[in-house]
Amino acid sequence: MKMPKPDAGVIARRAEIIKAMQAIVSGEGVITEDEELRAYDHDGLMAYKGLPLVVVLPETTEQVSAILEYCAGNEVKIVPRGAGTGLSGGALPLADAITLGLGKFNKILEIDFDNRTVVAQSGVTNLGLTQAVEDEGFYYAPDPSSQIACSIGGNIAENSGGVHSLKYGLTTNNVLGIEMVLMSGEIVRFGGKYLDSGGYDLLGVATGSEGLLGVITEVTVRILRKPETARALLIGFPTNETAADCVAAIIGAGIIPGGMEMMDKPAIHATEDFVHAGYPLDVQALLIVELDGPEVEVDHLIERVDAIARQTGATYLRISQSEEEREVFWSGRKNAFPAVGRISPDYLCMDGTIPRHKLAEVLNRIEELSRQYGLRVANVFHAGDGNLHPLILFDANEPGELKKAENFGADILRYCVEVGGVLTGEHGVGIEKRDLMGVMFTEDDLKHQQRLKCAFDPAHLLNPGKVYPTLHRCAELGRMFVHEGKLPFPDIPRF
């Protein structure tokens, strides 16, 4: 992965920049020693590491504003960082950039049950939001598997999803407002405790912007009352095709489950060895389907899903009879990444989304590629919305194997796009999929995205080298080539 060449001029000014940072953030909030910087040298995409110029951990929005204003004035780049669990390298440090960590933005500011909202600083963890309101029976719906660690600011920057996103939506559907500091240092607010906006939907645009548009300092999210009950079915199938048919048939019957997850054989075995959830080992594919709501509804839907599963050829079927049993069903799926981590020195987690009816076809293609590359792969995915997570197993100590795994991953993602899907469903582009953007987008598509970037950060100081393979200068993007204009379309009907 090629990163932009560090700016030697900025590195030469390091001492001066540190001084300026110390004037804004006192004491331990400015980290300069290599030993300590190493704690920030990578994110969840472990194959890539690098030391930042310096790490700054501000505590107030005003400090963030002062930092960005200084950096804008002195052409210093910024890499925003939440909890560093991102899987696409979005928070990967740059040698000539300040890593701006939001770890100290860890306070819940307001809980408002009547309006069903929580206002919090952006470094609060996803689970922290739920924990703040669960005594009253509420929760924050999007639940990435990393929820104990990842920050809500990072969730917004990535538009993260979770197993419950099928029914309750992604981050973008559950965030009502943010406070954001622009690269200029200006502080803006998009949205609040009310719905929609009186102008362009900049809240929507900031969500999923991967730290390229501004630094999120505060968030307002909506919370929901926990469903009365939830029960899950554990369903085994003899083939990937039959499992995929079952997924399609459930959706086709008008049922949107709270969650619908699938694992293939290698994933089943890896997780079963790890957590002993009691998964059947003689099936090719396993589905976990969770229904939630009032008991009568759950009973009714369980019956229907049960019938659909039998019709589509399930060979194993268990329905959770207690809350504990439901949690056991999930324990395997929720530990899939660490489980795979046990059976292989390293793994890459891919994240394409495909149309549901292509599930079996794509799985077969992945199997073929796995043989071709000679690398094992385990598949877990959010089957309900077609979001795949093939985990490619490899050994980074074997020369060339990382590259091979990356090529394998790129082939999977290209295939996802080929069958009508997309490169990333929830983990973001970061550096990982940056160079594949051209598979999905034309040059003009990418230029329009970058024009949005130019409106927020005209000097490209925020998180450069991420998401876009080439960053065009904003002056160049703004230029317009006009063709001399008489009405050049005799064939367009006019009235």
Partner: protein
């Protein structure tokens, strides 16, 4: 010379916009023109009539999405969805009558460009939440696309959000893809009678804060309730607070019972079944319950505002508006959406309205007023400082010559 250009293909749209950019001739972009009167009057010489870009291109019920030409009528889309027991869950409001036009007009592109939403906004979101991808021509005269056909997609910036609600000021959509969802098996509405506005906010908060997946929560003060065509509502002789539940049959019955128990102490309770429920929520969604409008086209010249505030502040905000001559309101979104009708004023009472919104946090839109008033008074919430400059820079990036619906949202943008 004023012309109406009626392209029939995306390529022709591109040609038309290229020409407009080269000759700096502003275009008024329209689908069917059902919302021409929404927003500021566009200062444009020519009209770009997109009605030729119509038709469903791809509908796969099991994949839960549809792709259609931008000017496909909502009526055509809804008919196709009904055949498969599906719906657009964001419940696009039909503002035709409110805006003095026809019922059942409007296109999908228009619904998205105005980011329409209905009562289900509180549970399912607005058009923005269901808009998966598009092909468009920006004011630069370049074709671009964003998004895709799948729900989970974080590849690049989410330009769909930018285009939804931009009132055609950034790009001309030629084809759009949006989410479709199963229609509920059953719908019922619990009515609580006789609540004051303030108590209604509390009752709605209780219902929305329960686990009963309420998909609509509206409060109709007595004057608004009277206008309804649902006899239980009109004949209540009191205010009516309506709570909607949808889903599988047994579940809906259970939740109605639970909500009735929860709200009994608040006031008298009635229940509406399928047909009456559908009619009432249609009236709420399409803003047909403003007292004094009498369902008339144009509402006899009365002006209409739409205020979005934090729900518990709804009644407090409305209380600040009573000084406006002939003011009448009703509430949707649990109190977070206030529809206000008032006797016409040259300034549409905008200072008072904006003051009231400011107190609660939120924004107000002048949805109906004469063109002269809409050009004098900011129709959308005025922006200041960095936010205003951001908006201008985005417009500049996508439409540097200012040829797409200039002035529709903000004067000079």
């Amino acid at each position: 010379m004023s012309e109406t250009l009626k392209p029939e293909t995306a390529e022709q749209v591109l040609d038309a916009v290229k020409w407009a950019a080269a000759s700096e001739s502003p275009l008024a972009v329209r689908g069917q023109g059902s919302k021409d009167a929404f927003g500021r009057a566009v200062e444009a010489d020519h009209t770009l009539d997109l009605s030729g870009l119509s038709g469903i291109c791809c509908y796969e019920p099991n994949e839960l999405f549809m792709t259609a030409g931008a000017a496909t009528t909502l009526a055509e889309i809804e008919a196709a969805l009904r055949q498969n027991n599906q719906q657009m869950a964001f419940e696009p409001a039909d503002l035709g009558v409110l805006l003095g036009g026809e019922e059942e007009a409007g296109t999908i592109g228009g619904a998205i460009a105005c980011n329409l939403a209905g009562p289900r906004r509180i549970k399912a979101g607005a058009a923005r939440d269901h808009f998966l991808g598009f092909n468009a021509v920006s004011g630069r005269g370049e074709t671009f696309k964003s998004g895709g056909t799948v729900v989970k997609n974080v590849t690049g910036f989410d330009l769909s959000k930018l285009i939804a609600g931009s009132f055609g000021t950034l790009a001309v959509m030629t084809e759009v893809t949006f989410k479709v969802l199963p229609a509920p098996e059953k719908t019922r509405t619990v009515l609580v009678l006789g609540l004051s506005d303030q108590d209604a906010m509390k009752a709605m908060a209780k219902a929305l804060g329960s686990s009963h997946e309420v998909s609509g929560a509206a409060h109709l003060p007595e004057a608004a309730a009277k206008v309804s065509k649902v006899s239980h509502v009109a004949g209540a002789g009191r205010s009516v607070t309506a709570i909607r539940v949808e889903g599988p049959g047994p579940s809906v019955e259970h939740r109605c019972r639970a909500l009735t128990a929860l709200l009994r102490e608040s006031g008298g309770i009635e229940e509406l079944h399928s047909e009456n429920s559908a009619l009432l929520w249609r009236e709420i969604c399409d803003v047909r319950l403003l007292d004094g409008d009498g369902g008339n086209e144009g509402g006899g010249g009365r002006q209409v505002w739409r205020l979005s505030v934090s729900p518990m502040n709804g009644a407090g905000v409305a209380a600040k508006l009573t000084g406006l001559s002939g003011a009448s309101v009703f509430y949707d979104w649990g109190g977070g959406l206030i529809w206000l009708a008032m006797d016409a004023e040259p300034d549409a009472g905008h200072e008072k309205v904006r003051q009231a919104v400011k107190f609660a946090g939120g924004h107000a839109t002048l949805v109906r007023a004469g063109a002269d008033v809409r050009n004098r008074v900011p129709v959308f919430e005025p922006q200041t400082g960095a936010l205003r400059e951001l908006t201008a820079r985005i417009k500049e990036g996508f439409d540097p010559k200012g040829i797409l619906n200039p002035g529709r949202m903000v004067e000079g943008v």
